[in-house]
Symmetry: C2
Subunit: 196 residues, 2 copies
Amino acid sequence: MQPEMDTLLQFFKTLANENRLKMLGILAERECGVEELATLLDLKAPTVSHHLGRLRELGVVTMRVEGNDHLFRMDVDGLRDLSRRVLSSLKLEQVGALADGVAYDTWERKVLDVFVEGDEIKALPAGYKKRLVVLRWLANHFEPGRRYSESELDALIERHHPDYCSLRRELIEEHMMARESGVYWRLPWQMPDLTT
Amino acid sequence: MQPEMDTLLQFFKTLANENRLKMLGILAERECGVEELATLLDLKAPTVSHHLGRLRELGVVTMRVEGNDHLFRMDVDGLRDLSRRVLSSLKLEQVGALADGVAYDTWERKVLDVFVEGDEIKALPAGYKKRLVVLRWLANHFEPGRRYSESELDALIERHHPDYCSLRRELIEEHMMARESGVYWRLPWQMPDLTT
DNA sequence: TATCTAATTAGGAGTATATCGAAATACAAT
DNA sequence: ATTGTATTTCGATATACTCCTAATTAGATA
């Protein structure tokens, strides 16, 4: 989990509460003590104190002491900086980073575990998504750049599964391989080799 | 409660969850089915389905149907629009609007209820904040623009509380009134009249 | 020192949310 | 039609959160 995830979660969790949002709105306009906020929001002091603690922890509210009163107000700089950081994490180029800790290959491994045994395709998945995984695994057995005749291709496919005819067609349909005047070749592919 | 509050709350609540954030990150990079997401996040399908429902409701994820699979991906436009709307609500000029439903006068009324009876100040609050409220109430008895001699001022203050000396000094200190060469006048003030 | 005021902390009750297993639904393929 | 696959809905449980009352702490005043 990248460090931004913690910040993001704290930000959203803290602001995901109506009373805390109202507090922030109030403290943007005037400096308040706990008792005053409690009156304005129709809450008890301990509740307000708790919410203020969270807002302060997040860094969007500051406190100063005046006699017995603890006076709170919005932290303009803190809120601005946080907003910027959060917004940039939600930008299109950045939002993918939220999945940084995710092991993308577990899904494909799982599918291959079920439908492939060694070099052999035990069964062709019915669902589209899973079928794609197996097709990619199959396509990975052909070298990019090399050219195959149809009979050569069929023979190679048949080593993995008897229905070379359907598989050849689907490899073409999914643009994992291409054909021109009876000659086949593999199209470039971004997927790493995950042979079981 | 202004309409923005609902949107804001829905936005923060929906994004205040680690698994939903990860989903958004994954769906920003690839189109996924429920089962695939469940594998990647180590959750069960019903849980993922529930989370996807909330993300879709918020408008940051879209779905298309391919055979039996429901394929989800991030809604680029939806996320961008929402982010903008939320961020602008957190801008300094806007954030005060979060407190639109708040009745700001309840606090001062409450203080005055306790410390003022009719025209008379029953007791001077010890705390700073409450003392300010009573001082403002007192200052409100003097017309802006009119000039008072010290003896005149003292007499008027004494009608509300015997300790005209302290009160006169504090009115000056808090810049509710001003003095020059023995003449006093009230400084402009933004507070409405809340005489009990 | 004793007392008063304001805030915080501790502990508990009620509510909402996350997650799961089981059952129901939608859709394809045989 | 029946079977199989992917998803969704339903119901239950466990966890997290909000809010309260009661007790404690910190600071100011008499």
